[in-house]
Symmetry: C2
Subunit: 153 residues, 2 copies
């Protein structure tokens, strides 16, 4: 099942690196990566979706509707998400100057700092998880992963 997270450790890395098909390898890798990110987010009392929210706000000032599109959520879900984030001082709502129906969401300084902490810790996890690879292997992995991401768009 691709749905199983990195269940039991098996030991020997390279020896076992061949016993997974592409689907299982990518599924398990994705569970590992998301698990690490979720744990680092939890260290800052953030859920994965709150962390993603802060991420998309890093260089954007979207409306509620645009947040919904970016996160692929219903607009009503975004209302609750922003309510909770705003209550914690991570983001702010501000009225649009062009369209009086719209509300823009912005990252607060606190939100930006918290997000940076998550990213730094997560970066360390990724470094540790790929430390056994050579520099060339890491770059190859980066390149292949980026290629798959770019192709899907």
């Amino acid at each position: 099942m691709p749905t199983a997270p990195p269940t039991e450790g098996r030991g020997k890395a390279r020896a076992d690196a061949g016993d997974l098909n592409l689907m299982d390898a990518l599924a398990q890798l994705s569970f590992m990566v998301q698990g690490a990110l979720a744990k680092r987010a939890a260290d800052q009392d953030l859920s994965l979706i709150q962390t993603r929210l802060l991420g998309v706000l890093r260089d954007r000032r979207p409306t509620m509707q645009e947040v919904a599109q970016l996160l692929e959520l219903d607009k009503s879900s975004v209302t609750g998400l922003i309510n909770r984030a705003e209550r914690r001082g991570l983001v702010q709502r501000s009225p649009s100057s062009e369209d009086r129906r719209s509300v823009h969401v912005t990252l607060s300084p606190v939100g930006r700092r918290v997000a940076q902490k998550v990213v730094r810790a997560f970066q360390h996890d990724i470094d540790a998880a790929t430390a056994h690879l050579t520099k060339a292997e890491r770059d190859r992995l980066r390149q292949l992963a980026a290629s798959v991401v770019a192709e899907a768009g």
Copy 2:
């Protein structure tokens, strides 16, 4: 931010395959993979955690407590998870013969069939997402991903 999912499409695959560092590439890939799995699960009216549950039951007959360990959930969360899955006929509880406090959880034929449908659809998604790579590149990606998974254990 590593937390941003595959936000906007950018077009040209290979041209952009170099503009992400390893952390971002793995984070975005993981969001893509998990998103695909979640959608295929949703097609069968399953959440990601329900799908993972069916996955770990494929070749196991764990107790409630073991399910909690496998999915890294509190035992009370597992009670609810199994309740909902049992209500839908996906799994069954059966009393342990050795320890009268324990309950074993087993996959029902329906649960197994539903899980297989999710896997098949997800496999197609992975195939499509990697179709632009050469056979050698796909195998290299599989090998590197499996190596990272194995190393983390």
